[in-house]
Structure formats: C-alpha cells, structure tokens
Amino acid sequence: MSISIANIFSITNGQAAPICDVTAMDRRDFCQAIIEATGQGLRISALFGQPVGGGRTRLWAVLARDNKSLLLLLYTDIDGNRYDSLTPYCTQAHWFEREIFEQCGLEPSGHPWLKPIRFPTRTETAPRIGDADFFRVEGEEVHEVAVGPVHAGIIEPGHFRFQCHGENVFHLEISLGYQHRGVERKLVGGPDRRTLHYMETLAGDTSIGHALAYSELVETLGATSSPARAQVLRGIALELERIANHTGDLGALAGDVGYLPTLSYCGRIRGDALNMTALICGNRFGRGLVKPGGTGFDIDVQRRDELLRRLDILEKDLFVAIGLLWNSSSVMARFESTGTISGQDCKELGLVGPAARGCGVERDIRCDFPHGIFQLEQIPVSTCPTGDVFARGYVRWLEIQRSVTFIREQLKGLPGGDPLVAVGPLKPGRIAVSLVEGWRGEICHVALSDPDGKFAAYKVIDPSFHNWFGLAYALRGQQISDFPLCNKSFNLSYCGHDL
C-alpha cells in the first residue's frame, strides 16, 4: 500500500497544532510513510518515543519537506516492546532508533547495529558507564586503537574505537553518553523558571540557538508573537554566535595542521566576536539575551554605533587571518581530499549544517524554513561541492562573510518599539515544532503540551545528533592521523548529543 506524502498532516516551522488534528497511523503505515517520504528526499528532523501509559509508547516523527517549507507530523502507538526497524530502508533513522531503544526500551527488530547510543541508567541491570561492545574487524593484521573518553586536550569526553590496518582506518565507532544529564526528563512539566537556563546550557556554545528555538516554541504555544525589534535582535545574536564559533573552528583547523598564524589570530578574533555579544547583553555567550516574548536586552544608539565600528574591524581582521589559510599551499594540501563525503551519502545519512553544505547540499533552515527576521531578510545559502575538510572549512568562511553583511544591514535598519512582550499561557493539547539554523546546523525542538498547558514531552535534537555518524563515516579509508583534523572540521557537541 502506498501512502501519499501530500495527505500527511503538516505544519510550518514555529506553528502549533492541536494534537487531535494529527491522524494516528498503525505501525505499518507509520514505517511505510517514513520510508516513502525519506525516499523522496524528505529528512527526519525528529523521531522519538513518548510513553503514554499502559505499557504503550507513542512514536512521533517530524519529517522536514525542505522544498515546501513543511513539517510533516505523524505518530503511531505501539503496544509491546518491538516494531519493525526503519534503518535497513532509511539510513538516517539509524541513530534515532537506537535512541528510542535506549530511552523507551522499544526494540526495532532488524536494526543492523542495535545498542544504546548512551549509557542508560533506566534499570538496575544496565551496564556500567563505559561498558559497551564494539564492532570489531577480525584479522591478523588488523589492530584496534581506543581513544578517550579522557582526552589530551581540554575537550568533552567521548570514546572512539578505530579498526585499523596500519595507518588506514577500516571502521570507526563513536561511543558517547559520558555527558548525559537527563535534561529532557527535567523539561517535562515545564516551562518553569529553570527551563530557559537549561536551554542556554544544552550546548554551551549554542546558547542563543537553543534559547531561540525554545522561545519561538513557547511563543507559538502561547499564541504570542514577538515584536519586530526582538526578531531583528535575535537574528543579530544568532549570526554573532555563528561568526564567533566559525572563527574559532577555522583557527582550530589551522592549529591541527600546525599552522600557527591563523590559529593565533582566530583565537583572538573569536574573542572579539564574543565580546560583541557581551556588549549587547553582558554575557559573551548571549545568556539572558533571547527569552520567550522577545529579548532581555535592547541595543541603544551608542551600542549600535560601537557594534558597527567593531564589525568593520572584525571583518578586516578576519580577511587577513583566514585569507592566510586559503593561500598557504601546505595547509591546502592537508585540507583537500581529507574526510570526503559525497552529496548522495550526505543525503542518506541526513547530515545538517556546514557538514551538509560542504557536500554541496543546499540545506539551511534560514532559507528552507524561514522564521523570525529570516522571513524578511534572506541570507544566501553557502555551499561547497567537494565534501572534504576544505569544503567544511570554506563553507564556514563564506557564512562568516554573509553573517557580517547581514548584521551590518540589520543594525542600520533596526525597527523601533519595545523588544519584549508578555507571553500567554501555553494552549493545552498542542504540538509545536521549532527549527533554527544554529552555527552547527539544524536545531529542532518539539514540544507537546498536556491538558494543563504544561510540557507533556519536550524533545531536543541538536545538530550533533545528525552528524556524529557522518564523522564516523567520513573516516572510512582515511589515515588515522587525519582523524583530529576531520573531527575538528565537524566540531560536534558531546553534551548537546547526550542531553
């Protein structure tokens, strides 16, 4: 039986709908619909289980239809603890199904590599943190290299298991879960005074991105719209965050190949960009800036002029520091053809953000699902076709330039008015989805409200969730010594994944 995608209930980005409007499917139709939809180029933005009592689990799927700016919603209720796995027919479901297995105990039968993606503590018999079986390549000359979870640098913990033949990597398996905090569980029953702070620390380097996704969700559930001035300020903050992180990433990429000039410059310039955010709200990572109903801070005329002045200096410095990178043949020799992913593979894996755009795939929430200021002001999508470390770096550079232009224009044309309005109480029995293009890629927040207007479930999909497997895939057939470089070109979040 065939299912027409056009008949599936859909909403737009940042829109709320009564849950009763979404038609329930039986499990066969549900799986069939997802397989057909992804076969036609739709993406899985979210796929998660919601316990609904009586030993039943409700599987929710949010499918992104990029070319129509529509989000397809579908669910099915599953009795018992198994269903037929999607992964054999739809690769991007791989990680999601493993998470459902971990969190709800639902077993997708036929899943090719079923194990939890974190270390669940649900049951008494759960394995100890760090205990896991890893994929092994057998053979006399194959050797195994284990890296982490404690790393040499000051970075987050994660375990990497390589199957190598000499210097060549056959297979890399990434084991996360060391940063699990149980945030999603804590969000149920909210929003309360803590919720915003949880959002700002889901991934500390994406404070604005996550706070923005959350705020738009609460606003739509509360039937409130944020003032025009706040939308512009949010756009500026989001792009400042992008500039700061991309600059840091490019510097770190240079550092990984031992190219000191760009490393040193970018380290400082990243600070300059963070300080611009601090100039607006007093915090370098933008905490307290974006909140439901608008923004917590406003930009007065002196600050606007100061920001414009600093933006000019920033742009000039960046052109010098990052220009060095592309003009240095020894750096290019390392970046090019390292960790290549084809456009086809990128679509099948469901990558997002600069990692996807670096494979030549035009995928950008600011364009595909415009929200807030991006409905009025378009930032061109930056892509690079080669799919290697160079492409992921170069996309960042293009985005930095376009973000600088965007911020400059927005600062010059700030609309008047108050940037903060009161948000109404959440409408009961709704589902809403909010997508934001954070600097790492698509941030997806899904909220379901209960009859009391509280969160019955709150799901966060950080872009890292989509991309971790892409990193493992990019390493196949590469040199193990190129792993740190590849890793840096993705620069994924551990805590954003673990939540």
Binding site: V147, G153, D256, G258, L260, P261, A333, R334, S481, P484
Partner: protein
C-alpha cells in the same frame, strides 16, 4: 687526548637545552605572543628530576632502560662531535659511522621502550618513527660521505682519515665552498631535512600538538615521567645540538685557526639554525603523514646527487 678539548662536550651539555628555547621564542614573537622564557627547558628539567617516576605494571626493565640508553648514546656522540673547525676530544677514523649508529641506538631504545608499554598509541608512534628514520638515516650517511669527499678534495691530507668527523669538518673551509659550492649546498639542503625530521619539527611532526593520533616522536614518550622524562627531553635537545652542529659546521666555514673564533662562529650558527626552525614552524603546516617519506626520499636524492657531483667534478 687533549683535555682542553673536553670543553666542547661540556659546551654542548650546557647549551643544548637553549635551542628549543630559541625556537619557541621565535615562534612566539612571530605569533605576536610573549612566549615562554628562553631558559624554559632548564626549568622543566630541574622540575622533572625532583619528581618521582610512575611505572605501569605492564612494563619491564626495557621501559626503564629506554631513557638512560637514549641519553648515554647522545652523550657518547658528543665525544666525537666537532664544532666547526674545532676537533672533538675523542675523534677517530670511522667515528661518523659511530655517530650514526649511536643515534640509531638511541632511537632503537626509545622505540622498544614505547613498544614495551603495549599501548596502541605508542605502537603507532614507534612504527612511524622507524619508518621515517629508515629513510632519514641513508640521507645522513650519504651527506656525510659527500662532505668527506669534498674535504679530501681540498688537497690537504686528512689527519685521522677519511671517516673522521673532526678531520672532515676541519677541512671544510671557504675554499672548499669555492670549489664545490653547488654540491655542498645540496648537502646542506639534505642535512636540513634530516635536522627537521629527526628532531620531530614541523613539517614532519608537531612538537606542540596534544593530539596523540597525529604524533610521531611525542607519542612514544607519553608514559615516561619524572627523571626519565627529563632524560628524554635532555637527550632530545642534545640530538638537536648534534645534528645542528653537523649543519652549522658546514654552513659557517670559519676556519681561522683561532679556537675561540671558530667555535664561537659555529655556536652562533647553531642559534641561527634554531631561529630558522622557528620561522619554518611559524609559516607552514605540517605534512600529511603519507607525504613524509616522499620528502625524505627527495632529500636522499639531493645528497646522492651531491655525492655524484663531487666524485665526477
């Protein structure tokens, strides 16, 4: 044996840790930073010898022998190492082979000490080190053979024979450069590559990185601590002094006969070499590991070509 010449090894023992300091300062200045003190390595060594060492239960005496043998081999080389025109205290005919193989012994023990830990990282580093040094060693020997022939060509009879470093270097003067300049330039190029590769500098290795998977030399010594690690750091700085002295002795052909001027010029040359290394590290990225053998082999071609030039000119 001339006891006054013992001054040469003493000079090396005292000044060698200054070389990494100069490199780091150069990088700091170019990077716009203040950087660490010039004498940082001395402070580090003083700190490390006062610390205790930690040994893994899986290691044997081989692991403990590694740093000791490494340091002793380097010190032994100092006995035959001339500095510019100033001869070594214990030079003999064939000491250039002695030098090459003492450095080989140093490497061998570092490698087996690394393998002794049974760590996957150290095994990888050891494999890389052996692969690259197998290519670097012929370059060094070829280059020294070319120098030896060039020095013999200067007409003077070589006291101590053809294979004594002291004899070779005391005859490398301005006139040698006038006669076979192009060949000597090729040799200098080859020795420069050996210097950077053997001392694990960029573009071959990155001494500053914290990424175990990309390291060559540094990853082999991860498990050493305290006084053992001090010996390794000190041994490494002596190795840099030794290979640097071979290059500086060639590039600074001051042979005035005045021991102070000759030695001083060569030591100055060593410092300039350290500055140059710092400059190289500031302006280029390191090579992909698969490219390293190619560069070493090309250095091999340089020194072989130099040898051929000298033989048939």
């Amino acid at each position: 044996m001339n006891f006054g010449r013992l001054a040469l090894p003493v000079l090396a023992l005292a000044l060698a840790p200054l070389l990494p300091g100069i490199i780091n300062r150069t990088k700091a200045v170019i990077g716009g930073r203040d950087g660490q003190p010039l004498l940082q390595l001395y402070y580090d060594l003083a700190k490390l010898v006062r610390k205790g060492a930690v040994y893994s239960h899986t290691t044997s005496w081989v692991f403990r022998a590694g740093p000791v043998v490494g340091l002793v081999s380097a010190v032994a080389v100092l006995a035959v190492l001339p500095l510019g025109g100033t001869s070594a205290p214990a030079g003999f005919s064939g000491d250039l082979i002695f030098m090459a193989y003492m450095l080989g012994l140093m490497r061998f023990f570092t490698v087996i000490a690394a393998l002794d830990t049974g760590s996957a990282f150290e095994g990888m580093g050891a494999s890389r080190e052996v692969q690259f040094s197998a290519l670097a060693e012929p370059v060094l020997l070829m280059a020294l053979a070319a120098l030896s022939l060039a020095a013999r060509g200067s007409g003077a009879s070589l006291g101590g024979g053809l294979f004594s470093l002291s004899a070779i270097y005391s005859h490398l003067s301005i006139s040698t450069w006038m006669r076979s300049g192009p060949a000597l330039l090729l040799v200098a190029g080859a020795l420069w590559v050996v210097f950077l590769a053997e001392n694990s500098r960029i573009p071959f290795d990155d001494p500053n990185t914290h990424l175990e998977l990309t390291m060559i030399h540094e990853v082999m010594v991860l498990d050493h601590s305290g006084p053992d690690f001090a010996m390794i750091l000190y041994g490494a700085s002596l190795k840099m002094w030794i290979l640097g002295a071979l290059l500086a002795g060639l590039l600074v052909p001051v042979r005035s006969g005045n021991i102070w001027i000759d030695t001083g010029a060569c030591v100055f040359g060593l410092f300039v070499l350290a500055v140059l290394t710092g400059v190289v590290e500031s302006v280029m990225a390191r090579l992909r590991l698969t490219r390293v053998p190619q560069l070493l082999v090309s250095a091999g071609f340089l020194s072989t070509f130099a040898l051929a030039l000298i033989i048939w000119s």
